[in-house]
């Protein structure tokens, strides 16, 4: 692995100054960055270790919602009693991510900002629209694990397991910026290649995520998270469905967000409308799973897989409610 310098800033301003000097990257746990350095696809001269900053490692419970610091470990979120009782879908999503060892290391902020798992993007020899070149190798190449929606410019998928559930909960992402703190909703935060192919999240130069808020007003009446993957112990998702029913006690305020099938989490209001408690809601909702999909040569299987996952999610959420 190529050597690099580690800088430990003491405040946010210093962190932003340091990262803007030359070829530098932010470091949280490093579970993604270090792999990319080892694979020769990232080669920072220095890394700015955000873990030395104060105050980003706490979970704060308020009446408006739960604030989760960007440096809180995934395992600390999934085992937090208030998150568990109020936003269980978030915890369920986390325990589907990576391995217990990685969840003990990886941070919330790092999870949101990881780079896509596209095997072309993660190979040193390729230049594509995502790293400053042109075109997408996967479209005409191997795309078994790539996206089936919004895949014309780039067909890599959003790799964060947390992303869809944050969109479903309309989470607020608080960002440290040169001009102070700014906020984005999760659906604004995760962006597709048509906005900017070089980025997956709406962070400007030098910015980093400070914390994430799960709003009380979006607590679900019932919920489900269903995920398909090749290896059942740990693996990246091939497709996932996050379903929240009757959010904030509002009947019919559902959210269906698909993961691992598009460059940003994909909310499907058309499917949400079909979840109406009727006898055939499962058939109706899963029947349109593939609407708008443009599968590539090897990933058409994701449509039937999504159908299955949507059906399971609805059954699971309904039974949870009744149970």
């Amino acid at each position: 692995m190529r050597p690099f310098k580690v800088i430990r800033p003491t405040n946010e301003k210093e962190a932003m100054e340091q990262v803007s000097k030359g070829n530098a990257s932010y470091l949280a746990a490093g579970t993604d960055l270090l792999n990319r350095i080892k694979e020769h696809v990232a080669s920072p001269d220095s890394v700015v270790d955000l873990k030395s900053l104060p105050g980003m490692n706490t979970i704060e419970v308020t009446d408006q919602g739960i604030w989760i610091g960007a440096l809180v470990r995934l395992s600390a979120v999934s085992s937090h009693t208030d998150v568990l009782s109020r936003f269980p879908a978030v915890c369920e999503t986390i325990i589907h991510a990576a391995t217990p060892q990685i969840r003990n290391m990886a941070t919330v902020g790092g999870n949101l900002c990881q780079k896509p798992r596209c095997w072309y993007l993660r190979h040193e020899g390729y230049s594509c629209v995502k790293n400053g070149g042109t075109g997408c190798w996967a479209r005409d190449g191997e795309n078994e694990f790539h996206g089936i929606f919004d895949n014309q410019i780039c067909s890599a998928t959003q790799p964060s397991n947390l992303a869809p559930v944050l969109v479903a909960h309309e989470a607020v992402i608080e960002i440290a910026s040169k001009d102070g703190v700014r906020e984005l909703t999760a659906d604004q935060f995760f962006i597709g290649p048509s906005s900017d192919p070089l980025r997956e999240v709406s962070l400007e130069e030098g910015e980093f995520v400070r914390r994430v808020m799960l709003p009380e007003s979006t607590r679900a009446g019932s919920w489900a998270y269903e995920e398909a993957r090749e290896k059942q112990s740990f693996d990246w998702a091939q497709a996932s469905v996050t379903l929240l029913l009757d959010r904030g006690g509002r009947k019919g305020d559902h959210r269906v967000v698909l993961g691992a099938v598009s460059p940003a989490p994909l909310r499907r209001s058309d499917i949400e409308k079909k979840i109406d408690g009727s006898d055939d809601e499962i058939a109706e909702a899963s029947g349109i799973a593939g609407a708008g999909a443009t599968p590539l040569s090897e990933n058409g299987y994701k449509i039937p897989m999504l159908k299955g996952l949507i059906g399971k999610a609805i059954r699971s959420a309904r039974s949870r409610k009744e149970g």
């Binding site: 050597p3 792999n35 694979e39 391995t99 095997w119 190979h123 020899g125 390729y126 190798w137 005409d140 190449g141 191997e142 398909a228 993957r229 090749e230 290896k231 059942q232 112990s233 740990f234 693996d235 091939q238 299987y301 994701k302 039937p304 897989m305 159908k307 299955g308 996952l309 059906g311 399971k312």
Partner: protein
């Protein structure tokens, strides 16, 4: 040869103790290397350091097929710490594991053949310095057309990846016909045909390969390495370094897992020795995990077509198997692997007529070779799934169709393999009983299924890799007045427990404690040759050598003790560290006193034992691959739950029975069974060593899809289902105490049993492995739409395998020879297994 000992039950009836009583063998004793392994005291190759030791890195090819135009090390020479370089021209002699495939160079000479082929070796003071320097070596390549699979190899005879081989880019081509297969198909009531695919996968040992080489004087070198085959490495070093074998010492360190991946002599081992000779300093190289994926030598991807004639009652009348192997860039064990994709089809169920055609292609990918099961898991998968389909179609229980036509013990198969003990029936009965098969198979709720499959494997290949008349295993014992016994053997402990097996056999015969045996193994200077830890040969072969050496030592000590005790030597019993008169145990002395008595009379005490396998009855060309002193047998039932909506499935329970002949240590046997289940699950469900072709505008190169442990999918503890193991003991007269192999056999039934269980659960077939959930889902989708509920390869390419070598079967009155050598055209010279076949041509 040794007759199997009587079972424990019979012994209990006997009044006086005897040397036939087993006190240690058959008990779950602690492994001799166990404590060192779990406390971190075992020294693996990468743990070794020596004064003035330097580090080496290899610059590997970044392109899959190219001529080397130039190599520029000028920038690297100026890097800090750099001490020296090697390039291919300094080691011009080719090497390779098989005498017929001497096609590798320690560093590529004029051509690279896959991404990962080593071109330059760099030594520096530290590993980091060597690595930094490796990054600035410039190699200029002139790209050549690349071949990514068997079909391309057939259609692209030029340019050739190698200048040898049966034709174009086909390394090996063969066709063999045992008996009148056409008549066999005519006798059949129904003929079944399937095309199946088995993807390549790799060994994934925990320990990455490492080597340390030390020069003494200017022309003596010692090589410590994580190798399964120190003897073969010794031969390759001799050839490439041009140094007499007596001046090269190879010590195989305990391997942190091998599984066949450390059975070839490797370029990095030879480079380390050469660099050490050049610099006069110890040189270490430790491969990265990425480099281990490039060393590979793992499971060949094999496309198969299997056609079988069957009577209404399920009786098999004839089979025609065709296999096409994707060999990767070098020969490795490939010629043997090619034969192995057909050789063992006959040893489980009676197959009166059998035809086997095969090709192995060269492609620009990491070389394939032997992985646990070597060439046999692929056709076994095809056969066992095929048989499941046949049983289903004929309305016969899959267990029953197998039970009704088991090969007889002590028989000769249609392709002239001599089967000894045969416990497959007992294996099937055990798993059928344990899993509740009779009540549950076909009767479980939708989404739940049971699948059954079987397998068989060698207890060591009948012939050595290079033809010779010498022992395949040797053991030397040295006894002295301390009472301690030093055991010298060339065998290599790769985690499978071979140290414990030979120590236990020796301790059993001498009646002494395991702790009083000191092992010296896998050292070409000090230990008698053992061919290596491959082909499941060590328990049977080194075990027999140990047994012979120990019996000779016992006889020698008995002579001395008999004079002291004044009883006939024949009546002395050795047990519990004492030597006593069987009929009157009070007449006794300690083992140590008995050794002193012998040493006083005969001088320095030492004995040897060696083992040569019995000759196989096959005399035809190619009969060298398949024979073994004994075959192990396994049967599995796998229970699986399949989610129809997503295709996601989980294996929930595995029942595995294995006929090991006789357990030397049941705890270790269980460990091997469970380890095989685990590895088999990986092959069935997720593991694949696969490559990606870059688009045309990017050189069309082939790169490994995921040379990392992060993305190469392999099961974890969390994927592992409960396993119920059954140890079946059907002692084989050729095994020490009747023992047969267990290291590889139990892997074989796993892949087909998983596929068969999915069929029982949801009624669809996935005719390839690994079986990804989306394949199951797609097969279900197809079935729901009224199409065939199947996912798998559609066709087998048209291949001219040439005129088959016709060999009449024993039943037809054959004599083991082919009847049409001239017509079949003996493909002599390059590309044939000359040396192996010479071994069997002796009878012609």
């Amino acid at each position: 040869m040794h007759e199997p000992r009587e079972s424990n039950d019979k012994k209990a009836e006997r009044k006086s103790p005897s040397n036939d009583d087993l006190n240690l063998v058959g008990t779950p004793f602690r492994r001799v290397d166990g404590r060192a392994k779990v406390t971190g005291q075992t020294r693996f190759a990468d743990d070794l350091t020596f004064p003035r030791m330097v580090h080496m890195k290899l610059v590997r090819s970044t392109v899959p097929h190219a001529r080397i135009v130039s190599i520029d090390t000028s920038a690297a020479e100026k890097m800090p710490g750099v001490l020296g370089f090697l390039t291919g021209e300094s080691m011009p002699h080719p090497f390779g594991i098989l005498p017929v495939s001497q096609d590798e160079h320690a560093l590529c000479v004029d051509k690279v053949r896959f991404v990962g082929d080593p071109v330059v070796a760099i030594a520096a003071i530290t590993e980091e310095q060597a690595y930094e320097a490796s990054l600035v070596v410039k190699v200029e390549y002139e790209s050549l057309e690349t071949i990514s699979n068997v079909e391309e190899a057939i259609s692209t005879p030029e340019p050739r990846i190698h200048e040898y081989g049966d034709e174009g880019n086909l390394h090996k081509k063969l066709s063999m016909q045992f008996g009148d297969t056409d008549a066999g198909f005519e006798e059949a009531d129904e003929i079944f045909e399937d095309v199946m695919y088995f993807e390549g996968n790799t060994h994934l040992p925990m320990e990455q390969h490492a080597t340390v080489a030390l020069t003494e004087e200017t022309d003596r070198v010692t090589v410590y390495s994580s190798t399964q085959t120190p003897h073969y490495l010794h031969r390759s070093l001799t050839k490439v370094l041009e140094i007499p074998a007596a001046r090269i010492r190879v010590i195989a360190c305990p391997n942190g897992g091998g599984f066949g991946g450390k059975s070839d002599p490797f370029n990095h081992e030879i480079c380390a020795a050469k660099m050490s000779l050049k610099l006069g300093r110890p040189v270490k190289i430790s491969l990265s995990r990425e480099e281990v994926f490039y060393c590979h030598r793992g499971r060949h991807p094999v496309l198969m077509k299997i056609k079988t004639g069957v009577k209404k009652d399920g009786t098999l009348t004839s089979q025609h198997l065709q296999t096409a192997l994707d060999g990767g860039a070098y020969g490795s064990y490939g010629v043997a692997s090619t034969y192995y994709t057909g050789a063992l089809q006959t040893v489980t169920y009676n197959l009166p007529k059998y035809r086997f055609d095969s090709i192995r292609a060269f492609t620009n990918k990491a070389p394939c070779g032997p992985k646990r099961g070597h060439g046999t898991p692929q056709p076994r998968f095809a056969y066992e799934v095929h048989l499941d389909k046949i049983a289903h179609k004929l309305g016969i229980d899959p267990a029953e169709i197998r039970m009704q036509q088991l090969v007889d013990p002590e028989s000769v198969t249609s392709n002239w393999l001599k089967v000894g003990s045969m416990g497959l029936g007992k294996c099937i009965e055990a798993v059928v009983e344990g899993s509740g098969w009779k009540e549950r198979h076909g009767n479980l709720p939708d989404g739940h299924g049971l699948g059954l499959a079987c397998g068989s494997y060698l207890s060591g290949a009948g012939l050595p890799i290079y033809w010779n008349h010498m022992p395949q295993s040797g053991v030397q014992l040295q006894l002295d007045r301390s009472g301690g016994v030093a055991l010298f053997c060339g065998e290599t402990e790769i985690g499978q427990g071979s140290d414990s097996v030979i120590a236990a056999i020796t301790a059993e015969v001498l009646g002494i404690d395991l702790k009083d045996i000191r092992l010296c193994v896998a050292d070409t200077d000090l230990t008698p040759v053992d061919l290596g830890s491959y082909s499941s040969r060590v328990t049977l072969m080194a075990g027999n050598a140990a047994l012979q050496a120990a019996e000779r030592a016992r006889d020698l000590v008995a002579k001395g003790a008999a004079e002291e005790l004044k009883v006939p030597a024949k009546e002395l019993v050795f047990a519990e560290g004492r030597v006593f008169h069987g009929e009157n145990p009070d007449t006794s002395m300690s083992w140590q006193d008995a050794v002193i008595a012998a040493e006083s009379r005969f001088g320095t005490l030492g004995t040897t034992g060696s083992y040569v396998p019995p000759r196989s009855p096959g005399r035809y060309r190619g009969a060298g691959v398949g024979p073994s002193p004994a075959y192990s047998y396994s049967a599995a039932v796998v229970e699986t739950r399949v989610d129809r909506e997503t295709g996601i499935y989980r294996v929930e329970h595995v029942w595995m029975a294995h006929d090991v002949g006789k357990c030397i240590n049941p705890a270790m046997v269980m460990g091997q069974i469970e380890g095989s289940v685990y590895m088999g699950l990986g092959e069935a469900m997720m593991e694949e060593q696969v490559y990606r072709r870059l688009p045309k505008k990017r050189s069309n190169a082939l790169v490994h899809k995921h040379p990392s442990l992060l993305e190469y999918k392999s099961p974890t503890f969390a994927d592992m289902p409960p396993v119920t193991s059954y140890i079946i003991e059907d002692p084989d007269p050729n095994g020490p105490f009747g023992a047969k192999e267990v290291g590889q056999g139990p892997l074989l039934p796993m892949m087909p049993a998983v596929a068969n269980s999915i069929f029982d659960a949801v009624g669809v077939r996935v005719d390839q492995v690994p079986i990804a959930p989306h394949m199951v889902r797609q097969a279900i989708e197809a079935k729901d739409k009224g199409k065939e509920g199947r996912f798998g390869p559609k066709s087998f390419p048209e291949i001219d395998f040439g005129t088959p070598l016709r060999v009449p079967t024993p039943e037809e009155g054959g004599d083991g020879k082919a009847v049409n050598i001239d017509e079949a055209g003996v493909r002599d010279g390059t590309g044939t297994m000359t040396e192996r076949t010479d071994a069997v041509k002796g009878g012609e």
